[in-house]
């Protein structure tokens, strides 16, 4: 890992996100994806992205795990239940929350140094 590469924990600090669970805070985060239709996200979210969503059920974990996302950011206070978070911990998925809407969170992410805001852009 090169120095200066963003990690999930660093994204959490910079965006002042609430930690719901952070089993692997050192996971790299190099880009972002926003969406709530799980099949859509599944087919398109890149690996090592910060996934911003208002979906908060257990199926979010399967998608996050299969897509190798760096962290899940639950927007607008849509926090998963504790039973879901327990599974997230077991599967090594970082889950954060924020009261801010999806758009604001994505805008804030795009301003982070070391973050690729557009497809194909190098972090």
């Amino acid at each position: 890992m090169t120095s200066g590469q963003l990690t999930a924990a660093e994204v959490r600090r910079r965006l002042k996100l609430k930690t719901l669970c952070e089993p692997e805070g050192e996971k790299p985060v190099v880009s972002g994806y926003a969406g709530d239709l799980l099949s859509w996200v599944m087919g398109r979210a890149p690996a090592n992205c910060a996934w911003v969503t208002v979906m908060n059920n257990q199926n979010v974990l399967a998608v996050a795990s299969l897509c190798d996302v760096g962290c899940v950011i639950c927007a607008e206070g849509a926090e998963p239940e504790e039973t879901v978070l327990e599974k997230a911990r077991a599967q090594g998925i970082n889950v954060y929350a924020s009261p801010r809407p999806v758009f604001e969170l994505c805008a804030a992410l795009s301003r982070l140094r070391g973050f690729a805001a557009e497809k194909g852009e190098k972090a």
């Binding site: 099949s39 199926n59 795990s65 299969l66």
Partner: protein, 148 residues
């Protein structure tokens, strides 16, 4: 000496959505341990996950059989559900017969079968109304789709 394929078998429960995806996640772990390319693993896992979800939504579950060979991953999903009336229509992006309660969970976007086709190198659907559906998919280790 002929290399024997690794055979994986998963029961996909149709009870609810809490277990949906477990077979795909388990398969993904196996493929990773075997050292497959990350893109190959991702394609196989996505294709299998969509199939799993379809079996849970429409067919009260089913079974997933996976043969892992050095050059390809073969996935066979078999259910005893209602069958697909019009496969061509079901293959269209956005077409879905999923009920509202399923849509509220974030499914039913009509992307399941299109995603399976998009991420596999070969896909065949055998279906019979009232009897069930079998979907066969092959994900090749060496494929132009790996650069997606």
């Amino acid at each position: 000496m002929e290399i024997k394929p690794l055979v994986l078998h998963y029961e996909v429960s149709g009870d609810n959505f809490t277990g949906a995806g477990e077979a795909s996640v388990a398969m993904k772990r196996e493929l990773r341990q075997m050292g497959f390319d990350a893109n190959v693993i991702r394609r196989a896992a996505i294709a299998m996950y969509e199939g799993e979800i379809n079996m849970v939504i429409h067919a009260e579950g089913g079974v997933a059989d996976v043969n892992v060979l050095p050059d390809r991953i073969e996935i066979v999903l078999t259910d005893e559900g209602p069958g697909i009336a019009d496969v061509e229509q079901a293959m269209q992006a956005g077409f879905s017969t999923a009920p509202d309660n399923i849509r509220a969970l974030g499914f039913g976007a009509g992307m399941g079968l299109p995603n399976m086709k998009r991420y596999s190198d070969e896909m065949k659907i055998e279906t019979e109304i009232g009897r069930g559906t079998t979907v066969r998919m092959t994900v090749l280790a060496d494929s132009p789709k790996n650069s997606f």
